[in-house]
Every structure is written in structure tokens, then in C-alpha cells.
Point group: C2
Chain length 388, copies 2
DNA sequence: TTACTTTGTTTAACCAATAGACAAAGTCGA
DNA sequence: TCGACTTTGTCTATTGGTTAAACAAAGTAA
């Protein structure tokens, strides 16, 4: 067993984490304000801030306005103390970013993926990571880690269990990358990373319970509960694309019937009758912009089915906010209306009251930024305590 | 903000909780074993155990077998240090139990409920609680609290937001009961309480991620994540009965269509064609025992639809175990087969691998025992720390 | 009887948070 | 300009928890 036991080191870790979080959230602010906000003693705050300054994670930016007494010495989280790399593997391309510790993008790379075999992708990825690391400005910590978002199921050890669209099974990606790069790596499911990105830097910033829907070639979702990513018993909760919304519906490759993603993802393009003018969301969006009636109708249908699935998830999870991301978010103008109508008709009134539905603020970068944040989070090492 | 900050008192609370949990789980065992299992220093364990003994929560039961050295002095959690009362409000009756701190039932009461108005139910409940409290044996702490399981949505403050079957809305039940009884009260949703009961004392004992399905007049579910009950943004996650499994299915009173509980709960009895010989599960079960073909077929159909909904939840939550409870669990022999077939056909293989489906071990007492445990849990005050 | 084990307690040291005193640096009214 | 008051941040002694290490207690085995 040997769970985490309590000692003074833990106390210090907890309080340091509280102080750092408070500073990032309410910056710029004084030590006195931190003390007031956290309930920690002024002396304690002073000591911890001193240490954070020594470690370059917090900076003093000079005096602020006095309100009838000594001027406060304002503190700031030093996002420039280090960088992180985020990578997203998509079906036809790989994207990567270099961010600072606050999630600001410093550099961006993109590359087409002609092949999907593991060794090729790994090689491409290594090159991209090294290129991005090379662009990192000088900083106390340098690149603190690499985060990767993958369209597939990932366990807690960073092994890719199953990525049907890439044809991978049981790939120990974290280990492989760490051995190659000699730096800390975290692997996440694409939707989970997207959830983290929007939760930390995008449309979900002040929601403790967030549901992120990644709609594209399939549907995945990332669930944030109590500010933490929920990963399920073996690390792959959120495979909601295979939720049944028609008990006797069309057969899915997963073995189930009537799966949500057969009705509300890009998978609908192939089976549409009569055939759609394209099978790519980007082109269909431009058709919709020219008011192509069939395309507009198709998007509305997808919106309707999206709403059905979202309703199910909302009734089960009771989130504060639902964020819709992924390639289909580009079709927002044509799907949002139908979706919102269905959701407001179908969800239980008490759920609706506390829930908002929004679209991703980070656009197509939700996942890649979320992946980078996974690495940052690991570096900063947050601690959570809950007393019941 | 003023979150929980770290200080020595917190450390002590954490470690006391760890020690107490270790003793309850691995009892009987020695101080040395506790130290080894927890990683805490022997001296720390000795001190904390001393204090727990002083508070009558732990007892020494004498020496154990020596293994080549001094004989260990074996410790036991003292479940007799206090009692708790658990109450469950059902549609036609109220049941109550008096338990010790280990969930053992010491006394049991049952009463028919002719009416559902709040004041009548409250009065009946008060009488039952006082009767049960009167039966409590002498103990250091006496009755430490009362837990209530209610068929409806409950917020974090113990207010019943909405209980359609009882016709209640916005009832501040916890406050009302505490004022009347002068003792700590916790209110939980019926399915959440059931989940706690099975998780702590029944079929879910060693599952960290548990999904409890309460199937009866409707379907509710309790979700335990990481050993903790998940309650959602405002305290009422798990309203899974209103999950759509037929996008264009029958209309439900909730405003949605094709809700799960229209196909897999006692609600199916009314609309069956030709009419079933009864509309009560108990009687239908006895018909099934006499191999009444229509009833057997009806149960199988319900099992099939139960399976569809369970598949959805499993794909979303990836639990370690699914426990099926509630009145419909009595029809297990006729629903289990169809349900299991559907689940094994439909769930993603990776989910299936780590998941078991079982039926409630506490029978019809899951909820009432779980409600009592809520009160016990509040009294013992567990603390959880997670470092990421 | 002796050597070795295992259990549990005692002791002194350590260290983080804290209250409260205090120093530093300001505002504001007369 | 002066003095009273405020606010910020540091310093000091105290408290109270964990810990390592020594030690005492109580056993086994040869």
C-alpha cells in the first residue's frame, strides 16, 4: 500500500502549490494579499514566496499603488522560467507547439503524415520535438517536458493501448520517446488533452466540472471532475463516441449498434444519400457558406444528433460547462442551432440551469496546448487535498 | 477562496485517517505491521494508535502469534464505539436501520407510507429515527448521525431539489431534520447511497471505480470515482435513467425521448402489450418462477435494454465494476442472461477486459446501509490527498 | 544459556506554520 | 512640516507534529 503519508514536507508542498496557484490566478498581487486570500500566515507566505523567487518561478515586478500604507511589492508567476512542447498526432498530419509555462505559444510546426506506421511517426515526432526544443529561448529550466495527444486509448503509464485509426496496438510510446529524447514525456488521449487545454487556457477556465467533446472523424470526450482529468479504471474513460443512441441502429465497427459517432461525426459523410459534394469538413463548410441546401441540412442533422449524445452525457455527469471542439467545431454556424434546440428540449431542467454549452476557444489548438500543459503540470507538481 | 491549507493539524488528521483505514482493512494487525504498510514511522503509529484507543475507536485484543520475536499486540477497529441510523424513503414504504460503525445491522424498522406530503413523511421519519435511536446500545459515542436516501436530486447542502415521484421540490430536509433531532444528518440520492453501501460493505468492496445501477420504478446510478462518490456540479450527477437509447423513441415525462428507463425499468409494465399479469415486480417474479412465457420474455427484453444502457455507461466511465441493485435485482435470473449477452457484444473489448458485472450483495438494503455509512463517514472524517 | 528477532516506547532533533512584535514605508489631516 | 494612522513585510520565540536512533520488552531457536 504505502499511500502518501503526511509530514512537514507534504505540508510545504501543499502550501507552496496553493501560493503558486493563487499568484497565477490573481496576479499581480502582494504577499499580504496572498496571505489574506489563502488563509496562510503572512510569515509563511513570505518564506514560500522567497523560495519560489529563488527558484525563478515567481518574480517581483516592483511596487504597486498604496491604499493608505506601505506600498505592496507585486508578485507575478514567471511563465518565462521554462518551456514545454506539445504534439498532436492527427490522421493526416502532426502539429507541434512550443509554449511557455503559461501556455503561450512561442513556436508552431506542422507536417503532413504520409504514413502511419509507428516507427515513421516516432521518427517524425522526434525531429519535430527536437526542432521545437531548439527554438526554446534561454530560461532557468529550459524545456521542462513534452506532452503528446494521440487519437486512441492511453493507459496511465503512457502506453498506447489501441489507436484504431492509426492501426496501433500496445505501443509503449512514453518509454520510447523518453529514451530517445532524455526528457520527461506525458501521453494523453486526444480528447483528454483537448479538455485540459480548454479547461486551463480556453473556454472552460472557471468550470470545476467540464465536459469536452472532440468531434471529428469520430467522437471522443474528455471529462474534468473537480478540476482533475478523470481517466477511469485503466486510463481510458470517455470513449463516448461508441455510446448507443439508437438501440437497434446501424452496426459499428466496434461491435456495438447505433453508436453516437455514426450519426454525429465525419463518419456520416460516407453514408449520406444522395452523396455529399465532398467528404471533408473544410470543403463542406465552404459549401455551407454558399448555402448549399443539402450540406446545410446535413450539418443540422449532425447538430441534432450531437445534441442527443450531449444530453446523455449531461444527464450522467452534470457538468458545469460543455465545450465542443475538434474539426467539426468549424461547422459551428450550421450545427449549433439544431444542437442547442435538442439539448434544451431534452436535458433535465435542473441540469440545464447550471450548464452552458460553448465552443472551443483555442480552435484547432486545444489538444496541442493541452498536451503541452500536461507536461507543465507534471513539472509544477500540483497537490490536491480534500477533506470530507 | 481560503482553501484548505497545510499545517501540522492537517498532517495529523491525514495520518490518523490512514492508520484507522489500515486497521479496519487489515485487522487484526500489530502496530509494527501498520507502520510497515503505511510507511509511517513506528513512533508515529504508536502515538496515533494510543490516541485512537483513548477515543475508543481502536481496541487491543491481546497478543498474536510470534514469528521469532516479541508477540504483536493485535489491534482492531472498534465498530461498537458508536451507531448510525440509515433511512430509505421509497414510494410506498420507509425502511430504517440502526448499524454499528462497521455497517452491521443492529435493528431494522419498516413502515408503509400512505401519503407522500413532506410533513407526513417527515413526521413518520422522525418517529422511526427516534425509535431506532432508542434501541442503540450504550457506547462511547452513541448515535453519531443519521443518513437518509431519497429518490430524487439532492444538492450538497442536503436540500431535496426535485423528487418527482414524491411530488417534492426544494425541501431543506437536512436542516429540518437536524432542527428536530439535534443530531448530524446527511441526505443522499437513493442511488448514490446504494453505491456507497455496496462499495463499502457489499459487492464493490475492492473496486476503486464503481458504477451502481439502481433499477426499480426508474433507473438511477451512483458513480464512485477513485473511492469517492461523484456528485457532479451541483450534486446530482447520475440521472442516467433519462439517457436516450432511442433517439426517436417514446416521449418521456422529463421532456426527452427514448429514455433508458422507459425500456428497462418498472415503467415498462404499464405499456406492455398484451398486458402483463401484474404491475409489481414481486408478483411478476413469482410468475416467472412458474415459467409464465410472456413474463419471462418481458424480463429478457428488459435485460437486453439494461445491457444497452450499461454499455453506454461503461464506455463513458470505464468502471472496474458494475453493480446492479434496486427492486429489479430480484428478477436477476431472468434478466441477467440477456443483459450480459448484450454487454459482452457491445462494449469495447478494452473496457470489457477490466470490468465485472455483479448484482447487489446487500439485496434491498444497499441504500439504507449506504445512507447509514454516509453518517459514519462524516463522523470518522476521512481525508484524501493526491499528488499528481 | 546465548544469540538473534520482532515489537513497541522513549528521547532528542528537526522543521514548518503560527502569533505577535517590530521595522519599513507609505497616506492624510491639521 | 509634523504626528497619527495604515499597510506591508520580516523577525523571533513557540508550538506541535514526524522522525531516526537508541532502548526496553518479550519472544524464538539452537
Amino acid at each position: 500500500m504505502t499511500s502518501i503519508t503526511g509530514d512537514q514536507a507534504l505540508v510545504k508542498k501543499i502550501n507552496t502549490s496553493i501560493v503558486l496557484n493563487t499568484i497565477t490566478r490573481y496576479a499581480p498581487l502582494s504577499r499580504a494579499k496572498v496571505s489574506e486570500l489563502t488563509g496562510l500566515n503572512k510569515a509563511t507566505v513570505s518564506n514560500l514566496v522567497q523560495e519560489l523567487c529563488d527558484h525563478h518561478l515567481v518574480e517581483e515586478i516592483g511596487p504597486g499603488e498604496s491604499r493608505g500604507g506601505r506600498k505592496p511589492r507585486l508578485l507575478l508567476f514567471n511563465g518565462k522560467a521554462g518551456c514545454a512542447v506539445g504534439i498532436e498526432i492527427r490522421l493526416t498530419q502532426m502539429v507541434g507547439v512550443l509554449t511557455d509555462l503559461e501556455g503561450n505559444i512561442l513556436a508552431e510546426e506542422e507536417k503532413q503524415l504520409e504514413r502511419h506506421d509507428l516507427s515513421f511517426v516516432l521518427e517524425t515526432m522526434t525531429q519535430m520535438i527536437q526542432a521545437l526544443m531548439g527554438m526554446a529561448p534561454a530560461s532557468p529550466y529550459g524545456v521542462v517536458g513534452v506532452g503528446v495527444g494521440v487519437p486512441g486509448m492511453v493507459d496511465g503509464e503512457g502506453n498506447i493501448l489501441y489507436a484504431p485509426n492509426l492501426g496501433w496496438e500496445m505501443a509503449p510510446m512514453r518509454q520510447l520517446l523518453e529514451d530517445k529524447l532524455g526528457i520527461q514525456v506525458t501521453i494523453d488521449n486526444e480528447a483528454n488533452a483537448g479538455a485540459q487545454g480548454e479547461f486551463r487556457f480556453g473556454a472552460g477556465r472557471d468550470a470545476k466540472h467540464l465536459l469536452y467533446i472532440s468531434a471529428g472523424s469520430g467522437i471522443g470526450s474528455g471529462i474534468i471532475i473537480n478540476g482533475e482529468l478523470y481517466k477511469g479504471a485503466r486510463g481510458y474513460a470517455g470513449e463516448t463516441g461508441h455510446m448507443t443512441i439508437e438501440a437497434d441502429g446501424r452496426a459499428c465497427t466496434c461491435g456495438n449498434r447505433g453508436c453516437w459517432e455514426l450519426y454525429a461525426s465525419e463518419k456520416t459523410y460516407a453514408s449520406a444519400a444522395p452523396p455529399l459534394p465532398s467528404r471533408h469538413t473544410r470543403e463542406l463548410v465552404s459549401h455551407a457558406q454558399h448555402e448549399h441546401p443539402q450540406v446545410v441540412r446535413h450539418f443540422a442533422d449532425m447538430g441534432r444528433f450531437l445534441g442527443v449524445g450531449i444530453t446523455n452525457l449531461v444527464n450522467s455527469f452534470n457538468p458545469q460547462r460543455v465545450v465542443i471542439g475538434g474539426p467539426l467545431a468549424d461547422a459551428r454556424p450550421w450545427i449549433a442551432g439544431a444542437m442547442e434546440t435538442v439539448v434544451s428540449q431534452r436535458t433535465l431542467p435542473y441540469h440545464r440551469e447550471v450548464m452552458e454549452i460553448t465552443f472551443a476557444e483555442l480552435g484547432s489548438r486545444s489538444t496541442v496546448i493541452g498536451a503541452a500543459y500536461s507536461a507543465i503540470s507534471l513539472f509544477l507538481g500540483p497537490v490536491r487535498v480534500s477533506t470530507m
